[in-house]
Amino acid sequence: MLTAEHLCFAYPSPGPGLPTTEALQDISFHLEAGETLAVMGASGSGKSTLCYTLAGLAPRYTGGHISGVVRAAGYDVLAEMPPTGAVGILFQDAATQLFNSTVEDEVAWGLEALGTPPQRIGSLVEEALTRFGLLEARARPPWMLSGGQQKRLALAAVWAMRPRVLLLDEPLGGLDPQGRAEVLAALAVVQHSGTTTLLTTFRPEAAMLAPATLILTEGGATSPISTSAVLQDETRLVEAGILYPPRRWPSLAAQGASSAQPALTLQDVHFAYTDGYAALHGVSLEIPQGQFVAIIGPNGAGKSTLLRHFNGLLRPTRGTVRVFGKDAAARTTGELARDVGFLFQRPEQQLFAATVYDEVMFGVRALRLEDAAGRVERALARFELSAFAQLPPSILSYGMQRAVTLAALAALDTPVLALDEPEVGLDGREWARLLTWLAERRAAGVTLVLVTHEMDLAARADRVVALADGRVVADGTPEAVLPSIPGALR
């Protein structure tokens, strides 16, 4: 039902003088009807490209050079695009796949493309939405859904077309624990429907859905072997950059006691967005210099809103924010950037410069920091990006783009770092890179404030602040706070 033989693919050069990218090299596997195969690989190992080639999208819509044999649902994919509905694909970033105005229109769109009789579409839409737990959201716009719901909707839209082959690219990628649990339940629905499925992932819980796993590395692939054997070989997964188990993490403990001087002080901070939604209700916090604080809470608790007050991207509707004792209201975001380095959620979406060097230099130049070139070169070297300095960030792999965002932050060398869910979507190699850098920053006495859903990370903080409905509901050491917070509030 799905076969790849000696499959090789290279993306075209993104511009004059820039190299082509060998994304896939000599990949072979065969799946009978109804079988499931997991493909594990670190970011940049070619997982998405493999899905694109198997679906017939690459090189047709991407350009590039392909060789080997690909057969899917009985079609020679290199010779002809499989007909609508024969091969379904769930993209890594599900939101890009959703372009209709309502949830039910999203599911109906593919059925209309298949030429399904209109009188049958309603019942098929309803069945798909019921199976994936979205019936109550049928009239909502897709962009109003949570990350997990968006993935489930994209899955429902593809599944409703009853593809014979289903390609799932990182179905758990970019999701918080709640979203991952939702999508795992949805994947069980797909499995029971008997569809031939290939799923790419770096998460063991997703790989466990398949009896066999193929490991993709930059430059090659293993043959499919038993998933349980793959998952037992932790060393191999760590070396491939897929996993970074918490017991291997570097120590994030403080090198000395944190200062009594406050780095960040919030007094009775309230905040409401322009549409009237009140996100914070009287938050008061004092974070001493050098402390490592983890902010936890469910989606919509106000975590990101709170963090954005530290560097002035948001200003309180009521109350005060002080950074190193100075009222933030009297300082521009540009001035606050000297004190507070900020990492956004999905930071790779915020790369804008023409080259990696310019991207890292941007903040250094904007803040007129001394030794600009030295700072940039050290940051590039620190994140092993020196060789890519003159390339556009947009052509780099997801993992390298993440490294660029960290290098841009590192070059500013701020005394406070505020990071918004930095763990989302990270493979093992990126986890290692992030944690090693955070450990260095801690040793340098930097104040760390992290919004996170990763409880292993929160457990290593000096202090955990739990938010719910825009209020602080717990504040103390991880040992005191984490056992008292139920899973749903994390």
């Binding site: 694109y52 679906a55 999208l57 047709r60 819509y61 991407t62 695009m81 007909p83 609508t84 509905g85 379904g88 694909i89 993209f91 970033d93 939101a95 890009t96 796949q97 959703l98 372009f99 209709n100 105005s101 309502t102 229109d105 109906a108 769109w109 593919g110 059925l111 209309e112 493309a113 298949l114 030429g115 399904t116 009789p117 209109p118 579409i121 309603g122 009239a139 716009p141 897709p142 962009w143 077309m161 560097n311 991207l313 521009t332 975001t333 540009g334 950037a337 900020f342 956004f344 930071p347 979406q349 915020q350 804008f352 410069a353 941007f362 903040g363 904007a366 803040l367 947009s394 841009a408």
Partner: protein, 256 residues
Amino acid sequence: MSVALDFYVQRDSWLHRLDPRVKLWGMLLGLIAVFVVPHLEVQIALLIGLHALLLCNRVPWAVLGRLWRQMALLIALILILQPFFAPSGEVFVALGPLRLTSGGFLEAARLATRAMAIAFTVGALLFTTDQRALVQAFVRLGLPYSWGLTFSLTLRFLPAIQQLFVTVREAQAARGWVAEGNLFRRLHEYLPVLVAVIIGTLRMSDRLTLALAARGMVGSTPRTVWRDLRMRPGDWGAGIGITLAFGVLLWFGIMQ
């Protein structure tokens, strides 16, 4: 970034339920009326009427206010610059060849009102018509499906691009960038933001192409339509009413 925003305001109202072909017809006649009946009173009346229509059909003030804010720069430029380009009537101030006159101010007010009337005429369609209905309206008017979808997605790209602009500007502000100085210097400093937004838009467009191709945009099977459009008596009545109102406006314009 995804195509994740929309002009459409989801409500249940008479205008929302009105056949989109009638709304397209109304928009066309409204735009013609704005140009062929260029009287300030008529355009103010049209603008007030459109506000009343949208508010009665449960489009909130906040949405109308957002459109005013989005048009604010253009309106300000018209009100500031236009009086100098169309001097006539009583002269208030003269600085060399530049003259501020009563006729100039009137012309600026007329142009600004016309710009707002155009924005709200188009807004009345987009705020109350979802993507499916809009695409289907184009298809039933004879356009190929791909054209209708492209047009509709293009409209939806506009707010998505605006969101992208905010995202990039925030990323740059967080790294210490602040646009400062006079208007021209600020515009110049916004250049990197605009470049980043263009690149981001192209990437968004690439991903959308893949998504559409993967779900059968270019398939050989003819598309079917779930919940196809159907003209009801109320839709015909509204169409006739709009046409008659246009006729009255035209007559008023000719008589004036």
